[in-house]
């Protein structure tokens, strides 16, 4: 194809490619920037907002099937600033209530990372407006690669919650944030899964040291099933109950959608550029 392209054909293609670099790339980049700015707006930033006040959102976490656990969480930007957890113990039906201490906040690292990745992507696109002239296709490809890398990471950060081992959860400073303090046989964990804010509550029961039960500590996972075992502070435990409650965070949904759209836009632009690569035989088109 490339070899057979005639001179006139080549010239037309060259013109078309120049147009692509001069006009079309900028149109796409502007679109991309708009989308990313929208996405970034969803992650209410602690710095840079006009009124300086970060709005707080309350989320009621529950599940349709169980009512053992209820949680009311307050999200402020990337931090959980308040949390109220109501827990009904399965056997005793005893009601427990915990809340965050007034002086403590819990950073949702997933949100923070996703926000930072989006901002990195936006930063990559600054100074690439109409005034900037792209000279080669590979420059556009490299820019798109860099942006896509940040966007994929931002998205992956939200879609893949950290999987932790039970001792990691137990030793996390999250357990020390509650008042009244969490009893030793209860573990909690917060995370984001896609567009949902999730709360996991594990109830443990201690294994007798002389227990004949085969002790096998469980590995790391997002959610540990009942029967998983752990050793913490020289004491062996087994998970007896796991409760998961969640709540959709609307703006996370938006952000994920924006990421997907932006990624597609980037890929389409890359494909457009690549079409021309065949006519110039891999030379820096």
């Amino acid at each position: 194809m490339a070899a057979t392209a005639s001179g006139a054909e080549r010239k037309v293609l060259e013109e078309e490619f120049k147009w692509l670099l001069r006009e079309e790339v900028h149109v796409v980049l502007r679109q991309l920037q708009d989308i990313l700015k929208e996405a970034s707006k969803r992650f209410t930033l602690p710095v840079g907002t006009i009124d300086g006040q970060i709005k707080q959102e309350n989320f009621v976490l529950g599940s349709s099937t169980m009512d053992q656990v209820k949680g009311v969480l307050t999200l402020q930007g990337d931090a959980l600033c308040q949390a109220d957890v109501n827990l009904k113990m399965p056997r005793t039906n005893q009601l427990l209530h915990f809340a965050f201490r007034e002086d403590k906040q819990w950073k949702m690292q997933q949100i923070q990372d996703a926000r930072n990745h989006v901002n990195q992507a936006i930063y990559l696109l600054t100074n690439r407006d109409e005034k900037y002239k792209f000279h080669t296709g590979s420059e556009v490809l490299k820019l798109m690669d860099a942006v896509m890398l940040q966007l994929t990471r931002a998205r992956n950060r939200l879609t893949t919650p950290a999987s932790l081992t039970l001792p990691e959860i137990a030793s996390s400073s999250l357990t020390k944030m509650f008042t009244p303090a969490l009893p030793g046989d209860i573990l909690v964990n917060f995370y984001i899964n896609l567009n949902k804010l999730c709360l996991l509550v594990y109830q443990l029961h201690a294994l007798q040291p002389n227990s004949t039960k085969n002790f096998r500590p469980s590995g790391s996972s997002v959610m540990h099933n009942p029967g998983s075992m752990l050793e913490y502070n020289n004491q062996r435990f087994e998970v007896s109950h796991v409760q998961k409650v969640e709540c959709v965070v609307p703006w996370l949904n938006d952000a994920l959608l924006f990421f997907t759209v932006a990624l597609q836009l980037c890929q389409q632009l890359k494909d457009k550029i690549s079409v021309f690569s065949s006519y110039w035989n891999f030379s820096p088109y």
Binding site: A3, K107, N156, P161, S163, L194, T260, Q267
Partner: protein, 1121 residues
């Protein structure tokens, strides 16, 4: 998609996924696998790079100048690191390229006190971190962590901490990580109250208060300060360390923070739109300057007290003088706050990029502390160009006050160096066709298949092509260069596949090639006949893959073709049929899987979506994203066990599954898309491992991202080479001097080809029709008829086995497949590459004439293999730092000038030993080659054995050491590490026909070289030189010894080998006399076989120079034919 994005655990998970059997991974970033699996064998591998005229692309993303001020280090988007020489006169030449990272390099930093150990650390986009020795390109340590670093600072406090120091890292993760500089383990984290990513940081070492601190700025603009020296203990005890001070700076996009070491007071903070100077004592703002329009600052540094340099992303820089209005101009804030002094910046000078404009510049500044005390501003850009500016000590503005422009001092690219120094501006088969766009080495056939830009495919004999490319005698070699041209493609050939190497089920005749015009052709590799032409309308063919073998389903005997429109085609080679063309994917294909039960093709894309295609109907069955997509991919992994079971029942070749080679031969971790990172082709070596392990010689085609042209790496397996040579030698199979008769090789080669084929077929046949014993017998017989060499070789290997009690791999039965001529030529080629040509003409001639080692046409680029996936390759021009321009015409192949020195030392060591029973007893040809190879392998082994290694070897070595000591020839005490080393070497003792003492002292000498960080190549060359020199002498001496001439002997031992050539001349004279005496009847054994007349030019026959140099060569030829 990337391991960092997930949590730590996710990373671990992905790296341990083991479903190699049915997964065809395409993207290297997903799966970090040893790129050079071949090198994992303990054998010593010598690599030689063959560059094409186009330099590998190197988009600079990180750059530094080492503390020795002679090495520039650049890291590229493609994942490679380049080392450049910087001379005192500010001349740049490329030295080496380091392969190891599989994704773009994000940061570089020194990793040790540079004066003691020239180590540099590099971090990459996907979390790999490597420590390199930048003098020889060796990878010292590497690790993969789930962190993407953007900046690394080396910190070492000699009196407060043990070990090699810390690497303080920041990047796309919370807070600052502390990594052990030696082991690369994460030691601890410097925590902060409001954790966030750190965008830049700087070590502050204040001599005034004797306190080291780390100042860092988070992405949200919080300036944080950690005390380092006072918290070393708490860090070592893993206590939480929080910042001591924190201040919010409001703005975003911080690029750099720098501390003024001259005043120890000012702190420069650069963000993309502003730069600011703060007072370090109280963090009060002293001045602010905004950037011009369209410019964004990327970094800065203090030049001197109150003078600083700022640079931008587009390669400009500005030098400012801070005019300290001083305390005389104290401004009293209206609200009665603190006293503030104002500082106003004045622009003095600037630098610009006018020519060769590129984008995304990386810049830095080096204030040299050594002679000649240059201040250098350096920059590297996306096109791979590096530029240096020499900043005057006292920059001044023009008279009218406008800024003065500083011109570029020097600028260079890899391509410039290639144009200048790459004396052979052609690809691997350059003389046949230059524009090679893809290539493939078929080890079992010793064939090199090259796809060209205009659609031709050229098939040649690999070894011959390489020899024609490298050796001096190439006009001869080229004239007889056999090759075949396949014509059929209209566009540039983008990829090649020889499916038989991946699975025996494929016909060995089949060769598949993909073209830019979206066509795939199935060829008969022997005849060049087009068996089938598949045409798609799907853009250039990007990759050809072989699906997992052993499944009696549709994918059986088919290949997968990935096109640039992200579509996947499944081509059945047997039926010449396109089974499926799946063309719905929106994103590049990352992996292809096949579900054994459902008979579906699962295509995973880079956006983590999954397309499930039904092979039977060719319809898209499912499209999934997110969790479901992951689940589908993992479900396939789970079904592997089940699938293997079913295979056991279905498949005919049960044997293969049981055989230990199954794992490797059926691992389908295929290479990567040709335009992806690093050395994509290398990974494919893994799948062909079993097959290629037969051959002591491999050609690896390498393609870097963004380029079509590739280069090739030759890999010589020394051990294997020796093994084959020895086995043949035992049978007294004198080598034919095949350099001078191509026809012999040719016929031999073609016979090998046939033989290999029959063997292969037999294997398949055997497994397919196990009951059909007749077929088997028949084919067995045909093999035995094939060539009696095979048989003798086999016998030889049996003998060998009996002799060897050592645990070394027994001679592989596969050796029968290797033609001794190929082995011999390979050995000679290796020696040609290694020999330090040009040191001494006489020695050069000896090599050419006596040993049949041909002279190199140009110095070769050596490679250093430091681990399975880390390789450094010399770039053209690597040797030009050492030589003057005047000498450029002559061929030098020495690694460094040290070689001659070292070889003298070596000779002295040997000669101090009175052992007469030396090797190299004058016999020439094969004997010499084997001897030299032994030496190389010995040197390699000695240097490569780490100090204090091999506990196992120690026990046995003690015993083995005893005889050495009892002989009392070496009274020195061996260190334990030395003795263990010796023990290891003892295991291969049968190979070294030395006296033990002699050997021991050599081991000592060479281990000593290792301690002096003499490089392997240097040592190998030195030893080669010395051994060749000795061989020339022993050759003479054997003849001399017929006349008991003690004076000569005495002189010999006195003789200083190389520099004093007059003595050697004397010896030469003796030798010639001796030859004449020989005619009278006292002919030594070696010479008796041929009737030799020394050939003389006219003139005195007594004079050495009148002896015709080709005389010895003629002798050899007559002798061996």
């Amino acid at each position: 998609m990337d391991p960092i994005a997930g949590s730590k655990h996710n990373y671990q998970h992905s790296s341990t996924s083991s479903a190699e059997n049915e997964m065809w991974l395409i993207h290297p970033a997903v799966h970090r696998e040893p790129l050079l699996q071949v090198l994992k064998t303990k054998n010593m591998v010598q690599a030689v790079a063959i560059w094409s005229e186009q330099a590998p692309s190197h988009s600079i993303t990180a750059m530094m100048i080492a503390d020795d001020q002679q090495t520039i280090i650049t890291g590229g988007l493609e994942g490679q690191i380049c080392l450049w020489n910087l001379s005192v006169e500010l001349k740049i030449s490329s030295r080496a390229i380091l392969f190891g990272h599989t994704s773009s390099v994000t940061c570089l930093a020194k990793a040790r006190d540079f004066a003691k150990q020239p180590f540099v650390v590099s971090g990459s986009e996907n979390g790999e971190i490597c420590v390199w020795n930048v003098t020889n390109g060796q990878c010292i340590e590497n690790a993969m962590l789930p962190y993407r670093h953007t900046s690394i600072c080396y910190y070492h406090s000699s009196f407060r901490m043990t070990g090699e120091g810390w690497l303080l890292c920041c990047g796309q993760y919370q807070d600052v990580l502390i990594i052990d500089a030696k082991t690369l383990e994460v030691l601890h984290t410097l925590k902060s109250q409001a954790s966030d990513w750190i965008s830049c940081m700087c070590l502050i070492h204040s001599t005034r208060i004797q306190e080291d601190s780390l100042v860092a700025i988070s992405v949200t603009g919080a300036l944080k300060l950690w005390d380092l020296s006072s918290s070393i203990n708490s860090i070592q005890e893993k206590q939480n360390v929080y910042e001591t001070e924190s201040k919010s700076l409001e703005l975003k996009n911080w690029q750099a923070v720098r501390f003024c070491t001259h005043t120890e007071r000012l702190l420069l903070i650069v963000c993309s739109d502003y730069w600011k100077v703060f007072d370090y004592c109280d963090f009060s703002l002293l001045c602010t300057e905004a950037s011009g329009s369209g410019q964004s600052f990327a970094g800065g540094e203090f030049l001197a007290a109150n003078r600083l340099i700022l640079w931008t992303e587009c390669g400009h820089s500005f030098i400012y003088q801070l005019l300290n209005s001083g305390l005389s101009k104290i401004v009293y804030p209206a609200d009665g706050g603190m006293l503030k002094e104002t500082v106003t910046p004045q622009l003095l000078c600037c630098t610009n990029v006018t020519e060769n404009k590129s984008f995304s510049y990386v810049m830095g500044f080096l204030n040299e502390r050594k002679e000649p005390f240059y201040k250098i501003l350096f920059s590297g850009d996306a096109s791979g160009r590096i530029s240096l500016w020499h900043i005057p000590d006292v920059p001044v503005s023009k008279f009218d006050g406008s800024p003065k422009e500083i011109p570029i001092a020097v600028t260079s690219t890899l391509q410039n160096n290639f144009n200048k120094y790459n004396s052979t501006p052609e690809g691997i088969i350059g003389h046949l066709y230059a524009a090679v766009t893809s290539s493939l080495y078929i080890a079992s056939l010793d064939k090199l298949v090259c796809g060209c830009e205009d659609g031709k495919i050229i098939v040649t004999f690999a070894l011959h092509a390489i020899r024609a490319r490298l050796l001096d005698d190439r006009s001869l070699l080229r004239a007889s260069m056999p090759h075949r041209v396949f014509e059929g493609h209209n566009g540039c050939v983008t990829c090649l596949l020889y499916p038989h190497t991946k699975s025996d089920q494929f016909d060995p005749n089949w060769l598949v090639s993909g073209c830019q015009d979206s066509s795939v052709i199935l060829w008969d590799v022997f005849t060049g006949e087009i068996l089938q032409n598949f045409a798609f309308q799907a853009g250039p063919v990007v990759k050809l893959l072989v699906p997992p073998a052993g499944h009696k389903t549709k994918v059986h005997l088919s290949v997968c073709c990935v096109c640039s429109d992200h579509s996947v085609a499944l081509l059945h080679l047997q039926q010449r049929l396109c089974l499926l063309h799946a063309r719905k994917q929106l994103f590049p294909v990352k992996m292809i899987k096949w579900h054994p039960v459902e008979d579906v093709l699962i295509v995973g894309c880079e956006d983590d979506s999954v397309y499930v295609w039904e092979i039977e109907t060719g319809t898209l069955e499912r499209y999934e994203t997110g969790e479901m997509a992951k689940a589908i991919l993992t479900s396939c992994e789970d079904s592997r066990a089940l699938m293997t079971d079913s295979v056991l029942f279905i498949s005919q070749d049960v044997q293969r599954i049981k055989s230990p080679s199954y794992k490797t031969s059926s691992s389908y971790k295929l290479g990567t898309l040709p335009y992806t990172l690093s050395l994509p082709e290398k990974s494919s070596v893994k799948s062909t491992d079993t097959r290629q392990s037969q051959s002591p010689f491999t050609i690896l085609p390498v393609k870097t991202k963004w380029t079509s042209m590739n280069f090739h790496v030759l890999l010589f397996d020394l051990e294997k080479l020796l093994e084959y040579l020895l086995s043949s030698h035992v049978n007294d199979l004198k080598s034919t001097n095949s350099f001078h008769s191509y026809d012999v090789v040719k016929s031999a080669k073609s016979s090998t080809e046939k033989r290999t084929l029959t063997l292969k077929r037999n294997r398949t046949a055997g497994s397919l029709y196990q009951l059909n014993a007749q077929t088997r017998n028949a084919s067995d017989q045909s093999i035995s008829k094939e060539n009696n060499i095979v048989k003798t070789l086999e016998e030889g290997s049996v003998i060998k086995k009996q002799k060897k009690k050592s645990s070394k791999k027994a001679i592989v039965p596969a050796s029968t497949k290797i033609d001794i001529n190929i082995i011999c030529d390979t050995a000679k080629l290796l020696l040609s590459c290694l020999f330090p040509w040009g040191v001494d003409k006489e020695l050069d001639n000896f090599c050419i004439k006596n040993a049949g080692i041909l002279r190199l046409q140009y110095p070769v680029s050596f490679g250093l293999v430091s681990s399975e996936s880390h390789v450094s390759l010399m770039l053209p021009g690597w040797n030009h730092a050492d030589y003057d321009a005047a000498e450029e015409h002559t061929l030098y192949n020495w690694f460094s000038k040290k070689v001659v020195d070292l070889s003298n030392k070596y000779i002295n060591t040997i000669q101090s030993q009175p052992s007469e029973k030396n090797i190299g007893n004058g016999t020439v040809g094969m004997e010499t080659i084997i001897h030299l190879l032994h030496k190389i392998s010995f040197v390699n082994r000695t240097i490569n054995i780490p100090v204090g290694s091999e506990q196992i070897g120690r026990h046995s070595s003690r015993q083995k050491l005893e005889p050495v000591r009892s002989k009392g020839k070496n009274s020195e005490n061996f260190t334990t590490s030395f003795s263990s080393l010796y023990g290891v070497l003892q295991q291969n003792r049968h190979k070294f026909r030395f006296h033990d003492t002699d050997h021991a002292s050599l081991v000592k000498l060479i281990s000593c070289w290792r301690d002096q960080s003499i490089e392997v190549i240097e040592a190998v060359q030195a030893v080669l030189l010395a051994e060749v020199q000795r061989s020339t002498k022993t050759l003479r001496r054997t003849s001399i010894s017929n006349h008991p001439d003690t004076t000569v002997k005495n002189r010999m031992s006195e003789a200083h080998p190389l520099p004093e050539s007059d003595k050697t001349e004397e010896l030469e004279l003796q030798c010639i006399k001796d030859i004449q005496v020989k005619k009278l009847g006292e002919v030594p054994e070696d010479w008796r076989r041929a009737d030799v007349d020394p050939l003389h030019k006219s003139g005195s026959k007594e004079k050495e120079e009148n002896l015709r140099p080709d005389f010895c060569g003629k002798y050899i030829i007559r002798n061996t034919f």
